[in-house]
């Protein structure tokens, strides 16, 4: 899907539009793209190649230089402008890659699995950067398999299974529209094991989480839990994105 936006793959059918108009080469230059397969020139200086890419996107030399320095600064690579890419650590190469996508100051930023391979601190800083960009008016499309993260960062989500969108919309709406509820139960002593049909444990650490339909027999579940020990907490939550994903993907 992302490759289609950048004309790297031709769609079997359909077209890509942006603000109502079909996307052409000129429009694409206003987009930033970070492919899943990361890649930059290993032997080229970081600053030089980012300026090169920004200029390919239509910026003048002065604009490109300024943008590159700005984004490398924001991403904490301000002092590595003259380093060759191969001299950078893996995490920093990843940041340089993101800077390459950001340098044209895109209106649409497309990131394929941007969180893959990042440590928790990297994840936090990338999430912050993306939030800042979004609040500055940049539209960001990214793919990820870390759904907690997606839930944390995104406003809109789409779940794509084998090339088809099975669920799409504003995260809050989707959650509200779902007929499932997440039920969090804490039972003193032994972990609670449900003995009711249709109730399935999905997480069982300090407290058990199960996803239940909204017409589930709450009283019976509570009774079942109480039979196993003292229930210290029993709460309904909206479903997590993970739950919606499981539901959507399950045939």
């Amino acid at each position: 899907m992302m490759r289609v936006i950048f004309d790297l793959v031709h769609p079997d059918r359909g077209e890509v539009t942006w603000n109502g108009a079909p996307v052409d080469a000129e429009a694409r230059l206003g987009f930033g793209y970070m492919p899943e397969e990361r890649g930059l020139y290993p032997k080229m200086k970081v600053g030089d190649q980012l300026v090169h890419f920004a200029r390919l996107s239509g910026l003048s030399r002065a604009e490109a230089t300024e943008a590159v320095h700005h984004w490398l600064g924001v991403l904490g690579l301000g002092d590595r402008v003259d380093a060759r890419l191969e001299e950078l650590s893996h995490g920093n190469q990843q940041r340089a890659q993101l800077a390459a996508a950001l340098a044209p100051n895109p209106t649409l930023l497309v990131l394929d699995e941007p969180f893959a391979g990042l440590d928790p601190i990297g994840v936090d800083s990338l999430s912050d950067t993306l939030r800042d960009l979004a609040s500055a008016g940049v539209t960001i499309v990214f793919s990820s398999h870390q759904l907690d993260l997606v839930e944390d960062v995104c406003e809109d989500v789409a779940i794509i299974v084998e090339g088809r969108v099975v669920l799409a919309g504003r995260l809050a709406d989707i959650k509200a529209a779902s007929t499932s509820r997440r039920l969090s139960i804490t039972v003193d002593g032994a972990p609670w094991v449900p003995d009711l049909p249709g109730v399935e444990i999905i997480e069982n650490q300090s407290d058990a989480h199960c996803v239940v339909p909204d017409d589930a027999p709450v009283a019976e579940i509570l009774a079942s839990a109480q039979r196993q020990g003292t229930v210290t907490s029993f709460a309904f939550e909206p479903p997590h994105l993970t739950d919606l994903f499981r539901e959507a993907v399950r045939p």
Partner: protein, 396 residues
């Protein structure tokens, strides 16, 4: 944004990044130094201004032999110095030490160290003849004027029907080296194109590039940037060769062949030949994803180039034979064979025109074929892509 502006940016990156790389610069500098040095070294080896030949005299010598040796040497264009050696000195040691080049003993034996020189022998022989004849004539009572008239050498004028063949030889030599340089340059810069293509695939940077520009722009930019670099390098090498030739010229070696026309011709045919093959190199380069797999893919362009080179070498000796003539008209071989035929003066104007137009048209066809394969294969990684599959994929 103007697509050609992007092509220019891509070409500029190829040119500067490759041109700045240390291995390239070092090779380049070494090559230029070696070529520059060839001239002066040839000059030095051939003796440059040759030293005077020293002839030592030992024992009894006919009168006037000293002056006669110098005079006879002058007539043959060799500077002779004469040194009288005392009987007590070991003249063989002097020969060994190169203090003298030859020693005339008692006016009848000529001794060299190891290599005897026919010219020195002839001079000594002639000098002895003259002084001995003069002594006889003197004994017969002839006056000095009469003796001088006997010695008066007959003058012979020397002319040749054909222009001297040395210029021809020099042109052949220049054509020969021109063919070698073209062959090396086209293969080298063609491989740069193939390697650059694989590099971008291997580093996955190609997707970042292609999200901004189309494949034809990447291809044209790469070929143009590397080609420009090749042109610069060839110009430097040709310049070095020209200077070197001028330095060697001091040593009386005919270097008229290494003139500006042949240099211009090599540069011109490089542009045509490189364009033709660079797109082929790019196409085969795009079918593999790793440098290790590249060697096999390069067999195809080499298989096309090699016969052209061999035919060009054959044409150096026999530019008018049927095979080089035909080869010089074919687009794929003309860039190698035709410059040799032009240098040897055997190419007709119409043949040159056919070769130039044919090569240019052939290059255009390869631009088309090459771009299509390139487009079809560029984003396919993993195993080697078959040329046929890449061709088909590009149609989708």
């Amino acid at each position: 944004m103007n697509p050609w502006m992007q092509v220019w940016l891509l070409a500029k990156r190829e040119f500067t990044e490759r041109g700045r790389s240390k291995p390239f610069l070092v090779t380049m500098a070494l090559l230029a130094v070696v070529i520059l040095a060839v001239g002066p070294i040839t000059n030095a080896l051939s003796g440059g201004e040759p030293d005077a030949t020293t002839v030592g005299l030992v024992g009894d010598q006919p009168g006037g032999i000293k002056d006669e040796l110098v005079l006879q040497g002058m007539l043959l264009g060799i500077e002779i110095e004469v040194e009288t050696i005392a009987e007590t000195d070991d003249f063989s040691q002097m020969l060994e030490d190169d203090d003298v080049d030859a020693v005339l003993v008692d006016g009848e034996e000529l001794v060299f160290y190891d290599n005897d020189s026919t010219r020195v022998t002839a001079i000594v022989q002639r000098s002895l003849d003259v002084v001995n004849t003069r002594a006889v004539l003197d004994d017969l009572g002839l006056s000095d004027d009469e003796i001088a008239s006997v010695e008066e050498p007959s003058t012979v004028t020397v002319t040749t029907i054909e222009e001297s063949g040395t210029e021809d030889e020099a042109r052949k030599a220049a054509a020969f080296f021109g063919a070698i340089i073209l062959y090396i340059a086209i293969i080298m810069f063609g491989q740069f194109v193939a390697m650059g293509t694989v590099e971008e695939k291997q580093n996955r940077v190609v997707e970042v590039v292609l999200s901004r520009v189309s494949s034809w722009q990447v291809l044209v930019g790469k070929v143009a940037g590397i080609g420009l670099l090749g042109l610069v390098q060839l110009t430097i090498i040709a310049g070095a060769a020209y200077i070197s030739a001028q330095l060697a010229d001091l040593a009386d070696i005919d270097v008229s062949g290494i003139g500006l026309p042949i240099i211009a011709s090599v540069l011109f045919w490089f542009v045509l030949g490189y364009t033709f093959y660079a797109f082929l190199y790019a196409a085969v380069g795009s079918t593999v994803s790793r440098q290790e797999d590249l060697q096999g893919a390069l067999m195809l362009p080499i298989a096309l180039i090699l016969p052209g080179y061999l035919l060009a070498i054959a044409a150096v000796e026999n530019a008018d034979a049927v095979v080089p003539r035909v080869a010089s008209l074919l687009p794929m071989w003309a860039p190698f064979v035709m410059p040799v035929r032009i240098a040897s003066g055997s190419a007709q104007a119409w043949e040159v025109a056919v070769a130039v137009i044919g090569s240019a048209a052939g290059a255009l066809v390869l631009v088309w074929i090459g771009s299509r394969v390139y487009r079809g294969a560029l984003l396919r990684t993993g195993t080697k892509v078959k040329l046929k599959d890449a061709w088909k994929a590009a149609a989708e």
